[in-house]
Symmetry: C3
Subunit: 425 residues, 3 copies
């Protein structure tokens, strides 16, 4: 027999393929930060671009340190495995477990920055990011992926494959909560309650960000499936799951864009570019909890609904709730994530998943929502009470780039006559 088999056997090679796959998809998911940065920068005014970019850079930098020093340990602690400090873990796990977890955690964190754009103080945002990465998000993964508490109490596992609720839903709900506590940008609403639209400064950057995110999302969803799974009698090739995730992710993405574009066309007679882009993302969010179990037609339905709800929910948040969710993070990540998570029992490839599955999904969504709203509200509420949540009105009107960062994002380009007229923030 080949003596090499003594060193690496077939199962070791299969494990290494899994490990390599995790590395590649972790890089892809990391790259989503470029997507978020561009998507959000494109959707804010030119006077707040540098602020948005800085927040994205610091979300990753501060968040990843918090998750290394504290967050990953909290997740295992809440999950029942004790506080497993990353620094003391097996070096191999630093990639396959820690980095892989960190890129998901930072996705949740960065979503919030889009909601609070244009008026949150940098220090307030960074404080929240630290707490999100250290505690708020790890508790969510602790009770779900790490702890599976719902299966203990309800008999069925909470189905959230890649974080449709745990990452995106949580981030979108946190963003909405933070935007509510902060209040809207100056001049976003008139005294009679009517709404002023404050368009972002660059659709090109916004769409670039969308496509970078979609690219990274293949890592996010397909990369959550292992190449080989460990069964009782050895390792099994996971091709059927990988193929299903690749298909359902693609179909839901496509239908999200079509759904949002169609609703926009029906409402306004025009195919709003930003709705199409954000609809594509909402379709992706919608399927993220269930890409491994959804039927192909279920992916189409969930994607279409996730896209179609976007213009409607955005209008509801803007006009009825009067919350200034600048980058539409709630309709894109929040409501779309909830929708897909709750849809699971009805669109499963194996047929209706049963009443217990419905209850488990609802329970999971409720618990994560309540935890996120309370903790996020508390953090921003305290910061607000301390006068540390928002920049001053002068700084908001001047733009956060000058006030917080001392830079202009586009020092050479002159602004149009009405560039400073639409809003004060």
């Amino acid at each position: 027999m080949d003596p090499l088999l003594l060193q690496v056997g077939v199962s070791e090679v299969a494990s290494a393929v899994n490990f390599t796959w995790i590395l590649v998809v972790s890089f892809l998911i990391f790259f989503m930060h470029a997507g978020f940065a561009m998507l959000e920068a494109g959707q804010v005014r030119s006077k707040n671009v540098a602020n948005q970019l800085t927040k994205n850079l610091l979300t990753w930098s501060v968040g990843v340190m918090a998750f290394f020093l504290i967050g990953a340990g909290i997740s295992s602690l809440v999950g029942g495995g004790g506080f497993a400090w990353t620094a003391g873990a097996d070096p191999g796990s630093w990639a396959s477990s820690w980095l892989y977890g960190a890129v998901f955690a930072m996705t949740a964190a960065t979503i919030v920055s889009g909601a609070v754009a244009g008026r949150a103080k940098l220090r307030a945002y960074v404080t929240y990011t630290f707490l999100l990465a250290a505690i708020i998000y790890p508790v969510v993964t602790g009770i779900t992926w790490s702890g599976a508490y719902f299966s203990q109490y309800l008999g069925t596992t909470f189905q959230d494959f890649a974080g449709g609720m745990i990452v995106h839903g949580m981030g979108g709900i946190a963003g909405l909560t933070a935007a509510y506590v902060l209040g809207p940008r100056i001049d976003r609403y008139n005294s009679d309650g009517s709404v002023n639209v404050i368009p972002g400064h660059s659709l090109t950057f916004a769409v670039l960000g969308t496509l970078i995110l979609a690219f990274g999302w293949y890592g996010f969803n397909v990369g959550t499936a292992a190449i080989f799974t460990s069964g009782e009698s050895g390792m099994l090739f996971n091709g059927a799951v990988l193929g299903r995730v690749a298909l359902t992710t693609t179909l839901a993405m496509a239908m999200g864009a079509i759904g949002a574009g169609t609703v926009a066309l029906a409402k306004t007679g025009k195919v709003d570019t930003l709705y199409v882009a954000n609809g594509l993302l909402a379709g992706l969010v919608g399927i993220t909890a269930i890409p491994n179990v959804a039927s192909w037609w279920g992916a189409i339905v969930v994607g279409a609904l996730a896209g179609a709800q976007l213009p409607i929910v955005f209008g509801f948040v803007e006009k009825t709730l009067k919350i200034d969710d600048v980058c539409a993070v709630f309709p894109v990540h929040g409501s779309a994530g909830v929708l897909g998570t709750l849809a699971y029992p009805f669109v499963a490839a194996g047929g209706f998943a049963g009443v217990n599955a419905v209850i488990t999904q609802v329970a999971g969504v409720l618990v994560i929502t309540v935890w996120t709203v309370i903790t996020t509200g508390l953090v921003f509420g305290v910061l607000k009470a301390l006068g540390q949540a928002r920049v001053s009105e002068t700084h908001e009107r001047e733009g956060l780039d000058i006030a917080e960062h001392g830079v202009e994002s586009y020092p050479e380009f002159s602004l149009g006559d009405d560039a400073t007229m639409t809003d004060g923030g």
Copy 2:
């Protein structure tokens, strides 16, 4: 014997490595949509940017649905395998076969949007995209990759490894045809036949798109080679082919940029940035049919010629044919793809490939060209006859962003004095 071998043996692991590779390269090829979006957005006027971006988003979204529901089945039907509906296929194949095919199909589709920029109606473009993804492109793959009809009739296989003709040549020819039927943008040509140059709004986005495309192209070309091939006596590591494709792709890309830059320098005394960028892409297109069989010097020659022909063919299309191919998709994808495909017998690593190979390559190019011109001309001709092909003159002058999408891409930046003077479209 290790019981794990009963579960996954060496050949299963090798197959899984192939599968993983296909996943990764499919993601890379998908990311080319971000490249096309940026390349095209950068080459259109600021008033048409959102339109170009929306077309790219919808090319993927509508096209992928058409390819899922119809196109993939048509390809197998034309190829002689019957209409194999994707929804009923083995889930593993949804990644390794369907998604992998879809990302190539959507590349062909998105090329066309660059040619018809600035005046095609959104509904016309989307209609064509649907038909391209459902029928026009699948017929091309059906008679080549799926059916190998040329080898039946001519004895030699039509050599098009990764779609130099099947994807890029086809897309470039379709774009030229569509641009011809639509007619040029208003004010593109003066009444005396002289030409007005209408520069794109951002070279930075155009070059970003170029480099994203080049990145994805490694997936496109190298990813068309499997890691292991199945031989009669088992699976064989395909390193020699993978290495050759990686090298020839790199050399042709480099020489494309150098070739186009040199011709531009010779013609105008300056190294036009856009020619260098598009030349780099033309070099990639040129090698795409033959990266697995070309010699290293052949890659250099084909890349240099593909780059060098770009400024010349672009001038011919613009000044002699008077076709308004906005993003130069014909010289980049069309003529460069034809050039590389026809060059095969003369630059093959194994020496001259024989007269039959010359005939087969010519026949393949001709059949694909005729099919593409007829079907594309028909679709846009019918749309034109129905008055649905072009936006109104008012909308064209105003810009398609406002007219078709109700948005401004850069609402804050003021345009220069002559920003609205160069063209009406």
Copy 3:
């Protein structure tokens, strides 16, 4: 026994996994060119954007040809293996050895373009790039990675895992040297020696470039570790090294951003966006020589120092040395690379690496520095003596886009009143 084992055995599959990994990370490292292009374009004035983009495109195109025809052979020649011409090598090695080496070489080359922005003649820059890829850089790898001369003379191997000194340090030092020889842009310094800040035209492109670079850097660092290493008794899974590299790269990146942002905040009271972005990159550069051997706390320390030194060294270069390093390539790549390389013995996971290691690291840094300064100074010195190094004052004031490339990067956007007032170059 499975007859397939006769074809591919476990060790062949393991080798193929290594090969596949090298392909993927080579693509990622190639993509860093898009990052450099955006980072540098964002940091130059709008009148020099096309020039910067063209330089990046030609760096890759010309450089890769030079490295194919000459450079790779020079590296093996200097390393003691004779001039191994790439064209004659085993095709498999064209990917696993040549392309993999080329993407590192081109990274070193492209760094220089950021230092000489806004006044170097295109032909001067291209000439230098050719020589760098053909000779200057290959000699550096020849005496280190290929030749291991330091271990012959000093007993310990020069520790530079992924090119912290060999690629980035060398590039940063070359850039500083070139910028010194060329002299500053017109109006960069007043006659009394005081400094005019010339801000780049787009922070958004600069931050996009930063995040693309960080994405590619995972390929750069983690991809330098093989999935399997060849031991005496067979192949061994390299998970512990892969995991350590992934962790230390991530931590150093994060701390680089935090370190630079903190120093900027302390110095100016504001968190300068560009310092945070460049700090993130400096943190990555800092760890690049040692990600496989640094302790987790060492990565934190090196990253923090690499970030913190950035604003300080940048000020020193600008105000004391009065060298116009436009894109801060010396503080980002040069001093940060030196710092990390020298830090190795003190932050190694296994404890202090010994005095010999200190001497070897210092010797390696010195030899590479001296070689780089002399050769770069010589090339640009000769070009300067021939009057070919810099564009004319008229062309510099007009902008290199018009003068060298005959294009405007943003023909539609009007420039602000003071857009042409800050500098002449």
